[in-house]
């Protein structure tokens, strides 16, 4: 039943696109030829819907065949209603945006038109996505590493706490893009400037959470290691930091969200590439369907980033109660 619900929403969207008459006339459905196959925007959109249906079908079959554990099955089916709603929303959007042109144009093109950006602009979108990813990874990793370092300093040395914590608290509340004008003059390239901004805004949550975790380490753990003759470095790296790990990851998750926001804003304010840049250039040409396409890519990219962080987190924190299986 839940499986039917999962599938049927997308199936409805599929059928709407296929069967609903194109009422509005001034809609340009472009056609592309790939090695003898003619693909227009509507067909591409329907193929994506079919791919989604296929994915969920295969997933359900795998769950069934492998006799997956009940909680896994329940988790999959818990999303059924939502997936059904997504399918209906797509169908409604298709009708209002493409078929009837009821929504104000060109601001709200239908899903099939957005597909056109992916087909016609594949290479450019891909390039900009990679640019964004590269920028994000650079800034985010610098931010996380310096954040952990600062946090350990603050958490461990009272002097560092005295001098650095106020700076952290003051800088932390300022939106990173506010530094943009300075960053652009201070750094040789705009890539480095944006890296700096992303690093700053990821640095803040990681540093505060790390400091918190380090300071919360029970004294007895340090004392115990000292009865074995452990020195300060051992206590920092083998006790304080592992103890702070759960908090560090909370900080890292927040940092990823802050960093991603800053990434897009920095790109929109002056980068030679990236999804923010793509949005800006598309906007100039009133190609709002491309803006939507960029938004879709961003959503996918960000959830992929969170997924990667989540995998690392589950591995590192496998000792935690409730995290292991």
């Amino acid at each position: 039943m839940n499986f039917v619900l999962t599938i049927s929403g997308f199936l409805i969207a599929f059928l709407v696109n296929l069967l609903f008459p194109q009422v509005a006339e001034n809609v340009r459905i472009k056609e592309y030829v790939f090695g003898g196959f003619r693909v227009d925007d509507n067909l591409a959109y329907r193929l994506v819907l079919l791919a989604i249906i296929a994915y969920y079908t295969v997933y359900a079959v795998v769950l069934f065949v492998h006799k997956a554990r009940a909680d896994k099955v329940a988790k999959f089916f818990a999303g059924a209603k939502f997936r059904f709603a997504v399918g209906l929303a797509l169908a409604a959007w298709d009708i209002l945006g493409t078929k009837l042109l009821f929504l104000p144009q060109p601001f709200f093109p239908g899903p099939a038109i957005i597909m056109d950006a992916f087909i016609g602009d594949t290479k450019f979108i891909w390039q900009n996505t990679l640019y964004s990813l590269r920028l994000f990874v650079a800034g985010f990793s610098v931010g996380v590493v310096t954040g952990v370092l600062t946090g350990v300093l603050i958490g461990w040395y009272p002097k560092a706490r005295y001098w650095i914590l106020p700076v952290l608290n003051i800088c932390g509340v300022i939106p990173a893009v506010a530094w943009m004008p300075f960053a652009l003059t201070l750094f040789p390239t705009s890539f480095a400037a944006a890296t700096f901004l992303i690093a700053i805004c990821s640095w803040f949550p990681v540093a505060t959470m790390t400091a918190d975790g380090v300071q919360g380490t029970p004294k007895s753990l340090f004392e115990l290691s000292r009865t074995f003759g452990a020195g300060q470095l051992y206590q920092i790296f083998h006790i304080a930091i592992p103890h702070a790990m759960p908090q560090i990851f909370t900080g890292v998750m927040t940092a990823a969200a802050f960093g991603f926001t800053t990434l897009v804003m920095a790109e929109m304010m002056g980068q030679p590439g990236g999804l923010g840049y793509y949005i800006n250039t598309s906007k100039v040409w009133s190609a709002y369907y491309k803006v939507f396409a960029a938004i879709v890519v961003m959503a996918v990219l960000f959830s992929a980033i969170l997924k990667v962080v989540g995998v690392v987190q589950r591995y590192v924190l496998r000792w935690q109660k409730g995290v292991v299986r």
């Binding site: 004392e223 115990l224 290691s225 000292r226 009865t227 003759g229 790990m245 000792w319």
Partner: protein, 266 residues
């Protein structure tokens, strides 16, 4: 008496005083007053007293976890100066490192001291000895409180300390698990002849395990009496002898009337 006195005094505590600044009043408050005690090699000593009598403070001084301000604590001819691996310490609550497996927790001291490689087999030997075979790769949250304390004891003993300091290690356990661990301690002691000092507020526990029981009274904490228990091990918890001694100690804490027959005391 003579058999114990023949042995070497391994630990000497002389005229130790200790006071803390009371956080509320800001006045210094004396926690330990005129503590004098000698411990012989291979001896099992219990420090028995109510909460707040300074028994844990004393143990921490012996361990070197807190500095000795007044008086002297001498282990093996050398004054105690900060913690080191000569004195193993077992905390009240297992105090295992939650991110390390059972095996890694036990091996921790060896690794810190840089002698892990040559002692790898010893880790497994200890795991078997404390009855945790098959749990090597478990994390602390996956084992019971009793198991955790076994691991904590093994973790301290694997470093071959001259003295094992036990700070109410069975305080948080149910009475069955407690008895198990008490027996484990007796076994380990018999086998290795390690000197042990146990801080406890459990009279039965002290009676079951100790060669001598040091009774402390609070405000300020001082040693009021040292009782020698000469019964051989293993002791019978239900025996008349045992109960008589128990009543004796209860009297000292004013918890029993002296004319009451032991049968009615519990």
């Amino acid at each position: 008496m003579t058999d114990i006195l023949d042995k070497e005094k391994i630990l000497k505590i002389r005229e130790v005083n200790r006071s803390f600044i009371d956080e509320r009043t800001g006045e210094p408050r004396q926690i330990l007053k005129d503590i004098n005690l000698s411990v012989f090699e291979g001896e099992f000593i219990s420090i028995l007293g109510a909460s707040g009598c300074g028994k844990t403070t004393l143990l921490r001084l012996i361990a070197g976890l807190d500095p000795v301000q007044e008086g002297k604590i001498i282990l093996d001819g050398e004054p105690v100066h900060g913690p080191d691996s000569k004195r193993g310490y077992v905390f009240q609550q297992g105090c295992l490192f939650p991110w390390l497996t059972v095996e890694d927790n036990i091996a921790m001291g060896l690794k810190i001291r840089g002698v892990y490689k040559q002692n790898k087999d010893k880790v497994h030997e200890f795991i078997e000895k404390i009855g945790l075979g098959g749990f090597e790769k478990n994390f602390p949250h996956q084992i019971s409180g009793g198991m955790a304390q076994r691991v904590a004891i093994a973790r301290a003993l694997i470093n071959e300390p001259e003295i094992l300091l036990l700070d109410e290690p069975m305080g948080a356990l149910d009475s069955f698990t407690r008895a198990d661990i008490q027996n484990l301690l007796l076994e380990l002691r018999k086998e290795r002849n390690t000197t042990m000092i146990l801080v406890t507020h459990d009279i039965d526990e002290a009676l079951y395990l100790s060669d001598r029981i040091v009774i402390m009274t609070p405000r300020p904490g001082r040693i009021s009496e040292v009782l020698e228990i000469r019964d051989s091990f293993p002791r019978e918890r239900g025996s008349a002898q045992f109960l008589e001694k128990r009543r004796n100690i209860l009297e000292r804490f004013n918890l029993a009337r002296s004319n009451t027959a032991p049968e009615y005391v519990i």
